[in-house]
Amino acid sequence: MKQQVSTEHKRVVLKRNLESYVFMLPNLVLFVVCSIYPIIWTLKYVFFQYGGIGTGNPKWVGLENLARVFRDEVYWKSVINTFIYGFGKVILIIPLAFFLALILVKQTKFNSFAQSMVFLPTIMSSAVMGLVFYLLFNAYNGEINQYLLNAGIISRPINWLGKEHAMKTLVITAIWGGVGNYMVYFIAGIQQVSKDALESAKIDGAGRLQTLWYITIPMMGPILKIILMLSITSAFNDITNVMVLTEGGPNNATMVMALYGYKYFFPVSASESVIPQYGYGAAVSVVSAVIAGAVTVIYLRLSRKLDDVY
């Protein structure tokens, strides 16, 4: 009798598990193929030298690839560039998005129209728009320079994609593509600021700016944390924009770490050919992933500390 119950129980458990996996399976297959397998593959090839089919078998090199990453000056330049890009973007985009949110938070017809206009770039393909920006920022006949020249603001075309300005141009396009996103987050955040707090501030005779400074901004804390988190992770992963607009150049001025790993696997532009170094590329990517992961974790720790302060 007892045995019967337990086999019955086993049968039920088995059935429940099977059922569960019926639900999981479709996604799980995709997850394994597109997320888990590539990670294992990459981790494996960190220890090999391999140039692809037709170049001999992968050769075990131990930690050599990793050691080479640490010697590779261009790689570390790309890490620094990634941080410059990320910080440049965050520092500009957050105030811009915040002010937009402040202005547009009230639900009026015009505001919702303005909101959708500002939000519009975020639905555009950054690759296609990268191409458009490439035409716009062209030094010799891009429209931006032509406007500036015609308006007499500059006398010689600005070399927007040249070594001095390329990074700035990249940040401008990143702001273009992202400001709408962050504005929407901020609007959601401002709407969460309790009406009571605002009312009582008004009764106390606080001016607009005072309310903003003492009530609204401090209460942005939680949403700001999410925004920062998102902008940090996205800054590490933006490569389409860089690829199409500057291809990492000139002289690696806009080479970011994600693109640096990529270029050992695939050509960065169609006019460039690549000598595949899958092992080294894997090592670069793994180190980059560790850097990105570490920054994220440190940020999470810090923001938790910030919680204690508030």
Partner: protein
């Protein structure tokens, strides 16, 4: 009861939808996917009347129209029941070939591409043409056999029919306007002339010098590389006589390049310029001079960006010294590789022979200005169009020759250099202000280390050519 059925149906539909998707994933050929119907594969299956389809991949667009006409003519006239498909793969050609090799889907014939050729030549990927060539054909092309390059261990893998090399392209009108009587011979003169043009005419948007520096390799391969071969007999940094890499000799030339690319001389935005935008600006008369390949420019200014042929000319690439210490390499264009692993390799050879190796085709190709023939019989036979005939330096001259291949050209995997390749490293000198001496010494070290490592690993071989004479390679 009804309810449960409906529930079941919903669940069934969902799982059904999913499995359908996955089934489509496995047997998708039947789903009539539109992408494939137009792609090569689809068309292969689509030709109903049992013709053998020979697929050709090309990376060249400049001659695509000419070749397509010849292919169409062949398709409608051939009696071997062969249908040739000519497919353009202008971008990412190397990568496309790599992936196709991996999956065993390489087409039957490919246009020659140095890297692709070298990478797979030792794997038996390319057909030994000698196997199929009759004696007449061997005799006809005997001048085009270069041991160590296209003939390896007695096997011939391709026949180069055209070659190209770099020249200084200049706008005669602009030169006249500022009073330059003849094109510069040394880099110092070149800097001076370019600066003169920029100083005098930049108000009109005209600049002395431009080069498409966005891709350092693409720009320097056709300019600095060739200049250095004549300047000190070193090819792509490799010294054949000593059998080592040595970039230290590039210092002087790079110094001039830095000046050429400086803001007071160069066309604005060279750093992010591609070759075609450069050409449009040259055609618009905005650029005094630039350096490019001989085979492409005539066609470009006749068809793509029309420019009066009398307005421009070409001259040898200036060097630091102006003294000829070596020949500059002729790079083969227009060669064809046949996939030895294709089940229709014999028919592919037929196609190759009947279309691309026919005298009619080769003469027309040269006359049409799509490439500069290196086959003496063709050169003799062709009625050169005025453009090429009138510009002596568009043709091959004494300063040009076929140089041996460097270790890296022979096998890219034999010289895996740590850090940036030499083109990118040069970029750090002319754009990044890096110390030239130091950088070049380090570069030389890195290349030699990689070269020796390749030898030690058994991937590459030591290459020394005894008594190498760069002027008579």
């Amino acid at each position: 009861m009804k309810m449960t059925r409906k529930r079941r149906l919903t669940a069934l539909f969902l799982t059904g939808a999913m499995t359908a998707l996955f089934a489509a994933g496995c047997g998708g050929q039947t789903t009539g996917d539109p992408g494939q119907a137009d792609g090569g594969q689809g068309a292969v299956q689509g030709t109903g009347d049992n013709k053998t389809v020979i697929r050709i991949w090309t990376k060249d667009r400049h001659d695509a129209k000419y070749i397509q006409e010849k292919v169409d003519a062949y398709n409608s006239s051939n009696t071997d029941n062969i249908a040739v498909e000519y497919e353009l793969y202008t971008d990412n050609f190397d990568q496309a070939v790599d992936l196709a090799v991996q999956s065993g889907e390489l087409p039957d014939i490919l246009t020659l591409n140095d890297q692709v050729y070298s990478q797979y030549v030792n794997q038996g990927q390319w057909l030994d043409l000698y196997e199929y060539m009759d004696d007449d054909m061997k005799e006809y092309f005997k001048e085009e056999v270069y041991p160590g390059i296209n003939e390896i261990d007695g096997k011939l893998y391709y026949i180069p029919t055209c070659g190209t090399t770099g020249r200084l392209v200049y706008n005669k009108e602009i030169f006249e306007r500022v009073g330059i009587s003849e094109p510069p011979k040394t880099l110092a003169e070149m800097v001076e002339d370019a600066r003169l043009i920029t100083t005098q005419l930049s108000g009109e948007g005209i600049y002395g010098f431009a080069q498409h520096m966005k891709s350092a390799s693409s720009a320097l391969e056709r300019s600095l590389d060739l200049g250095m071969e004549r300047e000190n007999g070193v090819k792509k940094g490799f010294d054949f006589a000593k059998g080592v890499y040595d970039f230290t000799g590039y210092e002087e030339a790079l110094g001039y390049w830095t000046q050429l690319l400086a803001e007071d001389v160069a066309f604005p935005g060279c750093e992010s310029l591609d070759i075609d935008p450069l050409r449009t600006q040259f055609a618009n008369g905005k650029i005094g001079m630039y350096i490019s390949w001989t085979h492409s420019e005539p066609g470009v200014y006749r068809e793509q960006f029309p420019m009066d042929s009398s307005k421009w000319d070409v001259a040898p690439i200036p060097t630091s010294t102006g003294v000829e210490s070596g020949k500059q390499n002729i790079k083969f264009t227009s060669g064809y590789l046949i996939n030895a692993k294709s089940p229709n390799a014999d028919k592919a050879f037929q196609v190759y022979k009947n279309i691309f190796a026919s005298e009619d085709f080769l003469v027309g190709y040269y006359e049409g200005g799509y490439g500069v023939s290196i086959i003496p019989q063709i050169v003799k036979k062709a009625n050169l169009n005025e453009e090429i005939a009138g510009k002596t330096w568009l043709q091959m001259q004494d300063i040009d020759g076929v140089l041996p291949m460097t270790p890296q050209e022979k096998n890219v995997q034999a010289v895996i250099v740590e850090g940036e390749d030499y083109y990118k490293t040069f970029e750090s000198i002319y754009y990044g202000g890096a110390d030239a001496k130091e950088t070049l010494r380090d570069l030389t070290d890195r290349y030699n280390r990689a070269y020796e490592k390749g030898i030690a690993d058994g991937v590459g071989e030591k290459l020394v050519i005894e008594q190498y004479d760069p002027l008579n390679a």
